[in-house]
């Protein structure tokens, strides 16, 4: 059985086959791994890879696997980003930045019409007693800023648009 996965925009090819003693032999990057698997509960898996023990959490949806290994989180995609987006270059488009947590706007650094760079702080949102800088995901022009300093925002509220 062969598949491809994408992790951080890089493609990885895996090949799996079952061996006689109930182990799975996995080939990845020209190396072979002997793996035995125990399913602990729904998404908890105990892997024994070449004698080494790993407790892993794996959950999947139609697009990707969410995996925790030793406290680190990995998002492994079933298809590449370019497959998902159609083609490259589709990046510089209008982006609406929403919040998925309620909070209070502490500060707004820019105004509508300002040019911003990718990663530049646009405003500060306070949630869980912490102040968080919300940054522009791309270089462009701020076409809309919704809340003002002091406003409370609810989940899914539009914060700003950048084009």
């Amino acid at each position: 059985m062969d598949f491809s996965f994408w992790l951080s925009n890089k493609e990885y090819k895996l090949s799996l086959q079952e061996s006689v003693d109930n182990e799975i032999v996995i080939s990845l990057d020209k190396r072979q791994y002997r793996v035995s698997v125990e399913f602990i509960s729904g998404d908890e898996i105990l892997l024994n890879i070449d004698g080494k023990i790993h407790n892993v959490i794996v959950n999947s949806n139609s697009l990707c696997y969410s995996i925790y290994v030793n406290g680190q989180f990995f998002k492994i995609e079933k298809r590449s980003v370019s497959q998902i987006l159609g083609k490259k270059g589709a990046k510089l488009q209008k982006r609406e930045i929403k919040t998925s947590m309620p909070g209070r706007i502490v500060k707004v650094f820019v105004k509508e019409g300002d040019k911003v760079k990718e990663g530049q702080a646009v405003l500060v949102l306070e949630a869980m007693k912490m102040q968080n800088e919300i940054k522009s995901p791309q270089t462009g022009i701020i076409t809309k800023i919704n809340p003002a300093a002091g406003d409370s925002v609810e989940t899914d509220a539009l914060l700003f648009s950048v084009e």
């Binding site: 598949f3 793996v35 794996v58 406290g71 930045i97 998925s100 947590m101 919300i134």
Partner: protein, 503 residues
Amino acid sequence: MPKMFKKILIANRGEIAVRIIRACREMGVVPVAVYSDVDRKALHVRLAEEAYSIGESVPSRSYLHVERIIDAAKKSKSEALHPGYGFLAENPELVSRCEKEGIVFIGPPSEPMKIMGNKTASRKKMANAGVPVIPGTFEPVKGEKDLKKKAEKVGFPILLKAAAGGGGKGLRLVRNRKDLLSSLRLAQSEAKASFDDPSIYIEKYIDEPHHIEIQILADDFGNIVFLGERECSIQRRYQKVLEETPSPFIDDEIRKQMGQIAVKAAAAVNYRNAGTVEFVVDQKKQFYFLEMNTRLQVEHPITEMVTGIDLVKCQIEIAAGFPLNFRQEDIRPEGHSLECRIYAEDPENDFMPSPGKIVHLHTPAGGLGVRDDNGVYEGYEVPLEYDPLLSKLITWGRTRKEAIHRMLRALSEYKIYGIKTTIPFFKRILLHPKFFAGDYNTHFIANLEKETDGRDAEEKVIALIAAGVKVYSERKSGLTPQSKKRESNWKFQGKLQNFSNRL
């Protein structure tokens, strides 16, 4: 002859409410919890003996609402009230309301609380009592001319600080005179916005300082003891991240001096109950009074681990009118203790808050010298409304090295899945050669964040293999209804990831 309380109301939530509930149960006192709407299923409610609703999820309408807390205490017939830390713990109004209603407040009287709550008043009081304070002004500056004169007298670099302040708000470092006025204006406007009070005073800036605090206990009979120090220099944005005792920076002689000065500070304001005197210590080990926290500290467990003394029980006994049952010479700290504060924050994404459902929780308690003071459980949904502290993981060892290795082992077993936590960040701190050598100050984390964090290649391979195994088993068996159902938990997680991805 004093009598122990029958019932105590705990005016807090999360791990500290759980901590106090446990102390009550060990003393045969009925612990009464209060909860906001979103906290109906919180761990502190589940572990209490009685529980009362006090209002909406937003803190100002529940945990910060003095009258609702007082109502719950009266309704439950609680004889005493423990405020924990944060929320109303240092609010003199709650203390006066308790006094009026005949409810014993488990903490200091309102007078020392008021003095210590004001930065300039406490500096003055301490200086008069012979406690060394950081050179600077004892009054807010009275305008730009006054500022210039006094800044020159103190000598650059200086700090401008909000008189009503805390948490780094209204704080500005001024290295030379040309930045003085612009910094004042920024500090004033921040102070006004944060505390509704633009007053600013001056302190000499101490470079590469240590933050070291002394735990004290004072009873109604004039006994005041100190219980060693806590090294709190591992900070991020003025928030403590990891604490240890004893401090690897100071020696027995300085330790004793600081302890005696802390006792003097407490005596000067007629302090009662548990309190903490914070000091700034410079590179030459000169120490200066910074502030006094008139409550239990988050990091109190490390003192308990080395002294064997249960500070919450002591607080309750003192409040009930019992004398301390040990003297200064009975307090002999043994070994070394560390605390890691595990927050619902994503260390790989600028410590963005990460509320949501804890899908899996494996805690590492077990073996000698491991303590996990947490406030959550598997299946619990960490709310957006409050402090993101999930757990304090504490270890003890005969030596500092043993305590560190034990912490690394405990962290390797600590698994919280469904939300992001600071667990991986602590491994970076503990394994850092400077930290391991005990050679660090308050700049440690800022320097660490400049270093790149090499992601482990081994973990990547394991993740890919796990994904392969998952596909393999799904294709062999077909998706089970159960695995479909569980996806809903992860949808929430997915949403949060989208949140952090977008930002």
